[in-house]
């Protein structure tokens, strides 16, 4: 079928500001938006720029705004989008070129919550023990692929630079609720600060945006409750 892609373009070497361009592509309903973008790049215009790698929703490279919602281009099919599709870069980060944005601030927020196991010495032989129930406690947040869909769907991040954003909180949750980890207080203190969880207004955009179906808002609520329980 014939579909029109309206793509926001910006080349920092030529353009003062972004503008839209339209492309006709011939696709199957079961094609991914990524296939359609590739068609534009490979046949019509080699300068079209975006990130991509795995092409099946697990590497987190190609989050973008598709018809106004944050989606992975490789995980949404043409048949679900209509004949005219608008594709824009994520909001809230600097556009580097076309659909590709500066991810450094995103990774900085991630690094800020100490995203690694903080634990006492491991047993000298064998694994640390953890029951299936303890493991289940943080299963949902282990699925995060750092795609930034949630963070850039959040109105709070659009208006303030310093909010760590949902993705960082999701990743803090992954460790705070891991029975093997002892860095919870540290992370909770970071999330209790100016830029932390209290900025969240429970708008649920993040949960809607997450391509891994992580209950993002829920995770944030759990962190808030842990903070209240710890009385930090």
């Amino acid at each position: 079928m014939e579909v029109t892609l309206r793509i926001k373009r910006f080349n920092p070497e030529q353009d003062e500001k972004p503008h839209f361009e339209e492309y006709q592509v011939d696709v199957e309903g079961t094609d991914r938006v990524l296939d359609a973008l590739n068609q534009v790049k490979w046949i019509h215009d080699g300068t079209l720029t975006y990130r991509r790698s795995c092409a099946h929703g697990i590497c987190g490279s190609d989050a973008m705004r598709i018809n106004g919602r944050n989606r992975l281009a490789c995980k949404i099919l043409m048949k679900d989008l209509g004949k005219r599709i608008t594709i824009e870069p994520l909001i809230g980060f600097k556009i580097e070129k076309d659909l590709l944005v500066d991810m450094e601030p995103f990774f900085d927020s991630y690094k800020a919550i100490k995203p690694y196991l903080i634990a006492d010495d491991a047993p000298s032989a064998g694994e640390r023990r953890q029951s299936p129930e303890e493991r289940a406690r943080f299963d949902d947040t282990t699925k995060c692929i750092l795609c930034a869909s949630c963070t850039t769907a959040c109105p709070v991040t659009w208006t303030s630079d310093d909010f760590v954003g949902p993705a960082a909180i999701v990743n803090a949750h992954r460790f705070i609720f891991d029975s093997r980890d002892s860095g919870a207080l540290d992370r909770l203190r970071i999330l209790n600060s100016q830029s932390g969880v209290w900025r969240c207004r429970t708008i649920f955009n993040c949960t809607d945006a997450c391509p891994r179906d992580i209950k993002v808002t829920d995770a944030i609520e759990q962190v808030k409750r842990a903070l209240m329980a710890e009385q930090i």
Binding site: S53, I58, E96, Y116, G126, P132
Partner: protein
């Protein structure tokens, strides 16, 4: 041009590169260069598991793991390396747990284990639970955990830099790399005492593949152009269960948990070919079973696919142990695995071949295993060889952590014992010339069709079943494509994020990989593991119980044989 100096530069931030980096962090000054942000590396796509004979749910021993690895590889495995792999797997998996990897757990709180193709109890008696796993996103958890450790240890990451050249002294020692900063188009020379290539595989050479778009064999190709031979390139694994037409992988874990392959008659056909292991026979075999079913007209509706059936499994098992793979079937094919079969076909999955190394990860360049000082490789880009002619499921992740770790440790030793060697004059010349050539043309054929024709041809002629006329056609076609590539036109001439240029560079790398695959496949007149020749159906141990080393020379490609290390298990016929 920018100049940097590090004790070690690691190219590739997948499981292998990061595991090496963690050994070095804090002890040496290191840089990790990657064309993708590290967590985007394809290690994150690995689903099913990582094997180690922990014996957490039933009796198991590293010797059994070693035997399965050797037999699975159709006896082309170097047994000294397989011993290291299966012994050290145990400790390496525990180390991952200590780093924080959230494995699934047994009721006693230990790491849970499940069955996987070709892994058996007591030298082939029956399937054994050896694969440690985190749902069906084991690789995702490995890449996350290792990246997190990298952050913890303050590793210097050069994110979104593309390798263009590897530098050697006149005496052939490695002394650095030249990389291209994707954001700015600037070249950087990184002067180093040691270089590790951990740049992953090259599944994108084929049309139907489970590999990422970034899986283009860049590091392998650059080494090859610099005179390093490539080993066992003819052995390329086709995984039996890729989503029809898309190639997206449905993990063997689906069969490990009880999934069954069915043909158009609804028959569970694997049983007919492999009475003991059935659907869990090694991948090369199951892929050929499917090929045979399709050839004999028992594909679904006479087409070139069969069904993977998990509908008889407990829905809770599907949701808890196979959530991602069943989701792929829903999202991409609109099929509900709980009630219907999922259309699948073999998909290009894993490169057994690559840059030859010894068990310390040091690159070797001849049949006598002479090492290239300062030069290392690990992971899918390397060939140790622990996978021989066919890799067993879960053994790649083991390979990454075991040999990534060994390479890192050996590099540290080398760094402590040696000085920086002088760089060659004008180190960026080769890289600059390549870029200039690609950016010089204002018109011509773009990479698109050249790449598509290569992928299609490799799929048709060089995949699950091969024969001489097909391979000769492939060789000639590649020569034609190479010709066209020599005048390929890159439309984007900008400096910022020029992904058009990168795709052209990647195509160049893939053409090199394809050349060596075809050359090896044509030379090897036998069938062994993943390399199946219709015109030479038997394994020929007299002539071909040997690795192939392929060199690029002025007179064309040259092949030399390298002996296989056999320590414990004499080659036998492979039956399951």
């Amino acid at each position: 041009m920018a100049y940097h100096r590090y004790d070690a530069v690691i190219v590739g931030a997948g499981g292998a590169g990061l595991m090496a980096a963690i050994q070095l962090a804090g002890h040496a000054n290191i840089a990790v260069v990657s064309k993708l942000y590290p967590p985007r590396s394809h290690t994150g796509a690995a689903q099913g598991g990582i094997s180690a004979a922990l014996g957490n749910t039933e009796e198991d021993h590293w010797e059994w793991h070693m035997f399965d690895t050797v037999k699975g590889g159709d006896y082309l495995v170097d047994q000294d390396a397989a011993e290291v792999l299966s012994r050290e797997a145990i400790d390496a998996v525990i180390e991952l747990e200590h780093m924080g990897l959230p494995f699934n757990r047994t009721p006693e709180g230990k790491i849970d284990q499940r069955r996987f193709g070709g892994h058996t109890r007591n030298y082939g008696e029956a399937a054994v639970r050896r694969a440690c796993y985190a749902a069906d996103r084991t690789g995702h958890m490995i890449i996350q955990t290792l990246y997190q450790q990298g952050i913890k240890h303050n590793v210097n990451f050069f994110d979104e830099y593309h390798l263009l050249d590897i530098l050697f002294t006149d005496d052939g020692a490695c002394c650095g790399v030249v990389v291209y900063e994707i954001k700015t188009g600037e070249l950087h020379t990184i002067h180093a005492k040691t270089v590790l290539i951990a740049s992953g595989g090259y599944g994108r050479v084929f049309k139907i593949t489970s590999n990422a778009l970034a899986g283009t064999g860049d590091g392998v190709a650059v080494a090859y152009r610099r005179g390093i031979p490539l080993m066992d390139m003819e052995f390329y694994q086709f995984h039996p269960t890729g989503l029809y037409k898309l190639g997206i992988l449905l993990s063997e874990a689906a069969r490990g948990e009880g999934g069954i392959l069915r043909n158009n008659d609804g028959e569970a056909f694997a049983e007919r070919y492999a009475p003991t292991l059935k659907d869990l026979a090694p991948r090369d075999m199951v892929s050929r079973f499917i090929h045979q079913e399709v050839k004999e007209g028992r594909g679904i509706d006479g087409k070139d696919y069969v069904l993977l059936d998990v509908s008889h499994l407990d829905p809770d098992v599907i949701d808890q142990k196979l959530p991602d793979v069943t989701d792929f079937a829903r999202v991409y094919l609109g099929v509900e695995p709980k009630t219907e079969g999922v259309p699948i076909q073999p998909t290009a999955h894993y490169a057994m071949g690559g840059i030859p190394t010894n068990i310390e990860g040091q690159v070797i360049y001849d049949p006598q295993t002479s090492v290239v000082p300062g030069f290392y490789s690990a992971g899918e880009s390397a060939c140790v060889s622990v996978h021989g002619a066919n890799r067993l499921g879960t053994n790649s992740l083991v390979d990454l952590v075991v040999f990534g770790r060994r390479a890192g440790r050996h590099m540290l030793q080398h760094i402590q014992e040696s000085d920086f060697l002088p760089l060659p004059p004008n180190p960026e010349d080769v890289a600059r010339a390549e870029l200039d050539a690609l950016l010089s043309r204002d018109s011509g054929e773009r990479a698109t069709n050249i790449r598509a024709e290569m992928q299609e041809m490799m799929m048709d002629n060089v995949s699950v079943v091969r024969h001489e006329p097909g391979l000769i056609e492939a060789r000639d076609k590649l020569a034609e494509l190479r010709n066209r590539y020599d005048s390929v036109y890159v439309q984007d001439h900008g400096k910022t994020y020029n992904t058009d240029l990168l795709e052209a560079l990647e195509l160049g790398a893939m053409l090199d990989c394809a050349d060596t695959i075809v050359h090896g496949a044509l030379a090897r007149q036998e069938s062994r593991g993943a390399h199946y020749r219709e015109d030479f159906e038997a394994r020929d141990d007299k002539e071909w119980l040997a690795h192939s080393l392929i060199y690029r020379t002025d007179e064309g490609l040259q092949l030399r044989k390298k002996p296989v290390s056999i320590t414990r298990f004499e080659p036998k016929e492979r039956k399951y």
